[in-house]
Amino acid sequence: MRFESPKTTREAVALLAKEKGSAYVLAGGTDLLVRMKTGLIEPDLVVDIKRISAMQSIKTTASGTRIGAAVSGAELGENKKLKKAWPGVVEATNLIGSDQIQGRCTMVGNLCNASPAADSVPALMAARAKAVVVGKNKRRTVAVEKIITGPGETSLAKGEIIEAIILPRRSTKSGDAFLRFIPRTEMDIAVVSAGISLTLARGVIKSARVALGAVAATPLLVPAAARAIIGTKLDDVALEKLAAACSAACKPIDDKRGTIEYRTKVVGVLACRAAKIAYQRAGDA
């Protein structure tokens, strides 16, 4: 295996594009090194992106916040402005693993690892986040929900790399939240998860996005679940409809972490709980 740590995105892209064997991007390494250790992959090239300055910062402008691909979960959690604007996104990212994992893991890594159970992804989808994708000849901005195409699979072409995530500017009277269920209190992969972002007008939900994790081959954006609460004050009837829409949308599997029956049921519970938190936050915002 060859290890490279380029200083610019362009160099990184060139290295990845040129490699004939298997090439991997190393951001936090919290998934990549596990896959190497367990023999799932044997990379010919690993490109460390943590020395690329464009990928190391969090920048907030009038249009939104740009989070570099190499920004760790811990750094994200220390950014008070971002935590205030997008608490659900930050909380979701901070739920990935332990403090040790937080010291390394990144949102972009979480996204590109493309696990259906990725913690940050439903929150990013609910937040209408976009990914800045850089290839050899062009740079494009893609909605986060378009990145993951299946378990471990992404829409990125060979040589393409995500440089940053862009979160839109937070509109007033809006809030987001993310919840996951795990059997322990820490360290587990989500059995089910739900991320919700919504905006209020005079206490009524004007717009909403609902995304679910670990209930299908990819994290799911569920417009029907959003419709169930739009136009309501999140009363009991709306919550019931939200839960039903979430349960209806999921196509989970039975595995070592949970059953179809369990996931289908609990995803509705979590969506309702997350919606209540988001609603509260929007009201306070």
Binding site: T38, P183, E186, D188, K256, V269, L270
Partner: protein
């Protein structure tokens, strides 16, 4: 000199205090050397190739390509570990478990191994070994394995303990029955009978340190083994026997051990490491990955158990029976028998019968896990006990107190009890403030009792007094959790000197006589006993030397407070001689001063505990959290209370993990799906509350200080205590451990009718 093991009441100066452990500094500075921390000149890296199949015939192993790879120094298969066991089937089973012999018996079974100059080369070599498997039908569930027509795991196993003698092989290796009285007559007298079935899943000891060893065999047939183990003397005997080495020519050194809980009582890859070293003629280090630890070492049994208890309305149990089916992995063992023995040990029963079955499956070879076999039996019996109490409208603690075993009780497994602690622990539960604390919404409280035999065994200890009067205590029982501190306390107590004047060490197999392993809660019990006797022997020498220095008869010298004192009218005015003064003169009064002892420390003293547990259950997700936990256990005598409490807390935490989340998950293909700490979910720090402890001291009549083993019993009650608490919290009875969120939610949904 005769060794009086009987208990004598005395006022201790040091026993019961909490000094700092002698190995503490090394362990907080990173200097302590564990299994993987040793190196030897020219050492190679050893790796093991493991079967991906649950059951397969090995038609051929082609190692030629691996052998040709540059940097590979040895490749071994079962051909390099010939059968030298001379008809000893149990030893052959151990050998076969270390390296498959023509058949892979479980996912993870070793089939070949390599030694190479570095890890990269060794990994490459493993991939070059071609194994031609013919996959065979497998069975991993204990109940399935007992059914007629189940795939037969071992065709040479015929059920023992049944009449008539079977003529067909079976996965049931043995049936054992215990009890007394007439259970049918007893059930006929009952007002209420409760009958219930339970299942528990397989769990792993989960020690944080993977197995590791450094083997070095010389061309002259002698060798050394550095290894993380609970018993280096036993490892020496087994390895030398399997490899055809002389016992005296294999020196085994126990590294610091990063947890064992029974899992390091057994050899796994050590004989393979020795075989690799012998073939390569270089030292070979083998360190298991976590995946290997889960797939191929030490889990405890999965079980399936039926319990039936009959009771009169006044709370008297008239009869109790249990059938216990324990999954042992692919080799015959005694775990079901132990389960049957422990199941009703807490109670004084007129009519009782327990039947244990030992069953083979295509899972890893089971080894001891802390009070092995008892937690599952206790889950079944103690859950049923609480159900019975509810049926007759009696408080579950009162019900247990009414039926508790006491001194003179004929135990369900045979012996008659001496003074025991089950009654006192139950009385302490009754009076504990925990029982009166208020519970919130979705919270519930449960309690349960537990029993463990404890073990004594062979022990050998040296005590040497240095020229400056400091004392080297040399024991052969591995220190798994602070025993060096406890044994130093005992030596200092006996000699009458300060704790700091004693230095405890663990000897290698070349430096001390045979010691049984640190298992069965015997470390402090048995080495403590041998330390007492070794110190008393040393005191005899000290008295002789003092007599010589004074030129008076030995019988006029007494030993008090670390000093020799002359007694009698004619000598009483002599100034006392301290241990230091006598030690300084040793070269001129007869040479080194030492005490030695070897003993079979029998009658370890049975152990009982009662636990109280509060849980909170989320009725919408089935998520359960333990919010308060109390352990009450009889220690006989707590030598170093910190480390006694530590055993209580650690065992309870393991039981909590087992109760709620830990389990081996096998796929249809017979492969283990969660061979890692990510999905084999042991409790993390944020999962647990503080674990309160109460140490009771009901002296063991067969130990000079009254010590009983304390290490294991604490894992026995938690499964049932939590099951009873969950039932109290949300009204559903879980009969399947672990009580994971999907299982709890399913039970809740069934109860709600949705």
């Amino acid at each position: 000199m005769p060794q009086d093991t009987s208990y004598t009441d005395q006022n201790f100066k040091l026993v019961g205090t909490r000094p700092r452990r002698p190995d503490g500094v090394d362990k907080v500075t990173g200097r302590a050397k564990f299994g993987a921390d040793a190196t030897a000149p020219g050492q190679l890296v050893g790796l093991i190739l493991r079967s991906p199949h649950a059951h397969a015939k090995i038609r051929k192993i082609d190692t030629s390509k691996a052998e040709k790879l540059a940097g590979v120094k040895a490749v071994v298969t079962s051909a390099d570990l010939p059968d030298l066991t001379d008809g000893d089937r149990a030893m052959l089973d151990i050998l076969e478990n270390c390296m498959a012999r023509g058949r892979a018996l479980y996912d993870g079974h070793a089939v070949a191994a390599v030694a190479a100059i570095n890890a990269q080369t060794a990994r490459k070599a493993l991939k070059l070994i071609k194994v031609d498997y013919k996959v065979l039908p497998h069975v991993t569930d204990v109940d399935e394995a007992m059914k007629p027509g189940a795939p037969i795991v071992q065709d040479w196993v015929f059920t023992t303990g049944v009449e008539p003698k079977p003529n067909k092989p079976s996965n049931i290796s043995q049936r054992n029955e215990f009890g007394h009285g007439d259970v049918e007559a007893g059930f006929a007298q009952a007002d209420v009978i409760v009958e219930k079935s339970y299942k528990t899943e397989q769990t792993h000891q989960g020690y944080i340190e993977p197995h590791a060893c450094l083997a070095s065999v010389r061309p002259d047939g002698s060798g050394e083994l550095w290894v993380t183990t609970q018993g280096h003397f036993t490892f020496r005997n087994i390895c030398s026997s399997l490899l055809g080495m002389d016992v005296a020519k294999l020196k085994v050194t126990a590294s610091e051990i990063g947890g064992g809980f029974g899992g390091k009582t057994h050899v796994w890859m050590e004989p393979v490491a020795l075989a690799l070293s012998r073939k390569a003629n270089r030292p070979v280090k083998v360190v298991m990955s976590r995946d290997e630890v889960f797939r191929a070492t030490g889990p405890t049994c999965s079980t399936s158990i039926d319990v039936k208890i009959g009771v009169k309305k006044n709370g008297t149990i008239t009869a109790a029976t249990a059938e216990l089916r324990y999954q042992n992995g692919p080799f015959p063992a005694i775990w079901g028998m132990l389960g049957a023995m422990t199941s009703f040990a807490c109670y004084d029963l007129k009519n009782v019968k327990s039947v244990g079955y030992d069953v083979l499956c295509n899972r890893p070879k089971v080894t001891a896990y802390r009070a092995p076999s008892a937690p599952m039996a206790a889950f079944a019996v103690e859950s049923t006990m609480t159900l019975v109490a509810a049926e007759i409208g009696m408080d579950p603690v009162d019900f247990r107190i009414k039926n508790a075993a006491k001194e003179g009780t004929l135990a369900s497994y045979g012996p008659t009890y001496g003074p025991i602690g089950i009654g006192p622990t139950l009385a302490a539960v009754k009076n504990h403030p925990h029982m009166k604390a208020k519970l919130g919404k979705n919270q519930g409280r449960g309690m349960a009792c537990g029993f463990w035999f404890n073990f004594g065994g062979q022990t050998c200890t040296d005590l040497n007094i240095g020229i400056d009067g400091t004392v080297t205590l040399t024991v052969g029982t591995v220190d798994v959790g602070g025993s060096r501190a406890s044994l130093s306390i005992i030596a200092a107590e006996e000699l009458g000197i300060p704790y700091d004047q004693v230095q405890a060490n663990i000897a290698d197999t070349a430096s001390l006589g045979f010691n049984d392993m640190t298992e069965g809660s015997r470390g402090t019990f048995s080495s403590g006993m041998a330390t007492i006797f070794a110190a008393r022997n040393a005191i005899e020498v000290l008295r002789e030397r003092a007599a010589q220095m004074w030129d008076i008869p030995v019988k006029a010298v007494v030993w008090e407070n670390g000093e020799a004192r002359a007694t009698g009218k004619e000598h009483g005015n002599l100034p006392v001689l301290s241990l230091k003064e006598i030690a300084a003169k040793a070269p001129r009064t007869g040479g080194p001063i030492a005490g030695h002892n070897e003993v079979v420390a029998d009658n370890a003293g049975v152990s009982f505990a009662s636990h109280i547990c509060d849980v909170e259950v989320d009725p919408e997700t089935g998520g359960t959290k333990v919010i308060r936990y109390t352990v009450i256990q009889d220690a006989g005598k707590a030598i170093h209370p910190d480390y006694v409490e530590g055993q209580f807390q650690g065992g309870a935490a393991q039981g909590i993990g087992w109760a709620l989340n830990e389990e081996y998950i096998y796929g249809e293909d017979g492969r283990l799906q969660n061979a890692g700490f990510l999905d084999y979910r042991i409790p993390v720090c944020s999962d647990l509350p503080f674990i309160d402890t109460e140490i009771l001291e009901i002296p063991n009549p067969n130990h000079p200080y009254g010590v009983r083993g304390v290490g294991e019993t604490s894992i026995v009650p938690p499964l049932a205590a939590i099951g009873n608490a969950v039932s109290d919290a949300v009204g559903v009875r879980l009969n399947h451990v672990p009580m994971s969120p999907p299982r709890i939610l399913k039970a809740l949904d069934e109860a709600r009718g949705s």
